[in-house]
């Protein structure tokens, strides 16, 4: 299949949507599809061959931050040229309401069109006058994808209709580091907590409440706490012999996160809610950590009902302590969980997620159907076309 992807934000600037589009493009190519990505580009020198320069981005205030977008006559012309010459079987635009190449592409094309909604927008923006203008373009989208439950909810409640949920894939290979984090004693059993320490839903309080029991059973345990925020208050309430075994790492880089997961015996995910996919667990499994997690539905699903990680009843510190003590005392059990996790994690890889995206392409498209230029609303285009006797 020939797929045209449109990224509304500058290709040179790191960002969620941009890396989603890049990962998707690579995964589609790995499945044998032809991909062309249209994106605003600052520096055309470093582009991969499958990215097409959609024009220089300009910095505009949009959706609460400064976004780098391409707009105007020259961007419109580039989009039309790209669609005319692309001969695409499917056009897949990302963040369709972003006032950039995505919206322009929707305007200029007709045929099998798919759109992915990434961020949640507030109601006022979607119902603004600008959106009414975009409505006609939006109606051409045959298949809508949302990457998160929040994005889907925005769409369903404010725009109406439905969307299918296809979460981001995880680049499993990016978590396959062999390095250890300095400062973790390899001779002592180690536990790790990751996440905002002052966000109750990440569940640090549950872990802290279980520590006295764990320390009693495994006296030489070391506990690493990594994540932004201040936990001084909750730590101060702990008994001295427990506090002495805790190392607070603060905010750490993505590389150090992988190293930390590598260096410990057990990764504890005591989250009490708010996890719709359990991406944290997928990353932990990809880094080959043994996992002890609360039994949230998303966690249960990622861990295959406990086959590749241990579950405890949500918010039950005694249950958490029991599972951790069990895991720390049994290296064979940990190795079995890691091995099972290694196989499990592949279904969350981009390589797999892309199957669902391809299924969406198949569901909106008739055999032999192509994306064509839409000349409605284009007085000049219409005239030039009729001048050539309707040919194209």
């Amino acid at each position: 299949m020939r797929v045209g992807l449109v990224c509304p934000y500058a290709w040179d600037v790191p960002g969620g949507v941009r890396s989603h589009v890049a990962d998707l493009a690579v995964a589609l190519q790995a499945h044998g599809h032809d991909v062309s990505v249209l994106a605003p580009v600052e520096d055309a020198e470093t582009l991969p061959p499958w990215v097409v320069d959609g024009g220089r981005p300009i910095a505009v205030r949009y959706n609460g931050s400064i976004a780098r977008l391409s707009i105007g006559v020259s961007a419109t012309r580039k989009v039309r040229g790209w669609i005319r010459s692309g001969d695409f079987d499917v056009l897949h635009v990302h963040e369709p309401v972003a006032p950039s190449l995505s919206l322009l592409a929707l305007w200029a094309a007709r045929g099998p069109i798919v759109a992915t909604w990434h961020s949640s927008h507030d109601r006022s923006r979607i119902l603004s006058a600008g959106y009414a203008v975009a409505q006609t373009a939006m109606e051409k989208v045959r298949g809508r994808i949302a990457v998160s439950e929040e994005a889907r909810r925005t769409l369903v409640t404010h725009v109406g209709g439905d969307a299918v949920l296809i979460p981001n894939g995880v680049r499993v290979s990016a978590f396959a580091s062999r390095e250890r984090l300095p400062g973790v004693d390899p001779a002592r059993p180690a536990l790790l907590f990751l996440g905002r320490v002052d966000e109750p839903r990440k569940g640090l309080a549950v872990l802290l409440a279980s520590l006295p029991t764990i320390v009693e059973a495994v006296p030489d345990v070391q506990v690493l706490i990594a994540g932004p925020g201040s936990a001084d208050d909750s730590l101060a309430e702990l008994p001295e012999e427990v506090r002495a075994r805790i190392t607070v790492l603060g905010r750490i880089s993505d590389e150090d996160k992988v190293r930390a997961l590598r260096s410990v015996d057990v990764y504890v995910a005591p989250h009490t809610g708010g996890e719709s996919f359990g991406i944290v667990l997928v990353e932990a499994l990809a880094a080959q950590a043994a996992v002890v997690a609360s039994d949230l539905p998303a966690f249960r699903r990622v861990l295959d009902d406990g086959a590749c990680g241990m579950l405890f009843p949500n918010q039950d510190e005694q249950g958490l302590a029991d599972q951790v003590v069990l895991a720390l005392g049994d290296a064979g059990l940990r190795a079995r969980m890691v091995a099972a996790g290694d196989a499990r994690v592949r279904i969350f890889d981009w390589d797999r997620v892309v199957d669902d995206v391809i299924a969406v392409y198949d569901s909106v498209r008739l055999p032999e159907e192509k994306v064509t230029e839409d000349l409605r609303g284009q007085i000049v285009g219409r005239l030039s076309r009729s001048g050539r006797g309707g040919g194209g």
Partner: protein, 204 residues
């Protein structure tokens, strides 16, 4: 005198603007109807694929005889209902969904996966089931958008949709069988080889 002329000009301009609005709205409705037709055709083809693979599975002797018989019967009903009215069709397709769910429990799927031709057949069935689900979602989405526009007062008063019938949503049970979700079904039509660029990442 000039006042009357101004009034006439204003009326003409207003009429022109109103006419343009009507023509644009009629265009939007027309386009939404075409979107409905396309997604309906896509859904039809995936439903047909699903019943075809179901028949194939039922006649393959990979399932026990009782399951095979049930599945063959349900798939046949679904296939022969193609020319029936929408209600009869959706009932037959929902019945096929229910039968697939009943005969493809995780245990049954394990059994089928053990046979040489099983994995490919289940892969095709899983792909068809998923595509039915997706195209039905997209069809109903288009139907909703079209109804919303057609029920606007002006669109209704001026009959901008012409004689096109009121669009109907497609109500059926499209649940993918439990066994096809919880088991690791191989994939079809894709190569498992990754290009070298995968691991390096596109941007690093």
């Amino acid at each position: 005198m000039s006042g009357a002329w101004l009034l006439v000009i204003a009326a003409v301009v207003l009429l022109a603007v109103f006419g343009l609005y009507l023509s644009m709205t009629a265009g939007r409705i027309d386009h939404l109807h075409r979107r409905i037709d396309t997604t309906q055709l896509a859904l039809d083809s995936h439903l047909l694929r699903r019943s075809a693979v179901s028949t194939e599975l039922a006649t393959s002797l990979l399932l026990d005889p009782a399951s095979s018989l049930l599945l063959a019967e349900a798939a046949h009903q679904a296939r022969t209902s193609v020319d029936a009215d929408a209600q009869e069709r959706t009932q037959a397709e929902s019945a096929l969904t229910a039968t697939l769910g009943a005969v493809l429990t995780p245990e049954d799927v394990d059994e089928v996966l053990d046979s040489p031709e099983g994995p490919l057949m289940l892969a095709e069935l899983a792909a068809a089931c998923r595509r039915v689900q997706l195209s039905r979602t997209f069809l109903n989405d288009a139907v909703r958008a079209c109804r919303q526009l057609r029920s606007q007062r002006i669109a209704a008063a001026f009959r901008l949709a012409g004689h096109t019938p009121w669009p109907q949503s497609w109500e059926m049970d499209d649940t993918v069988p439990e066994g096809l979700i919880s088991r690791d079904i191989p994939r079809m039509g894709t190569s498992n080889e990754r290009p070298a660029s995968w691991d390096a990442g596109p941007d690093e």
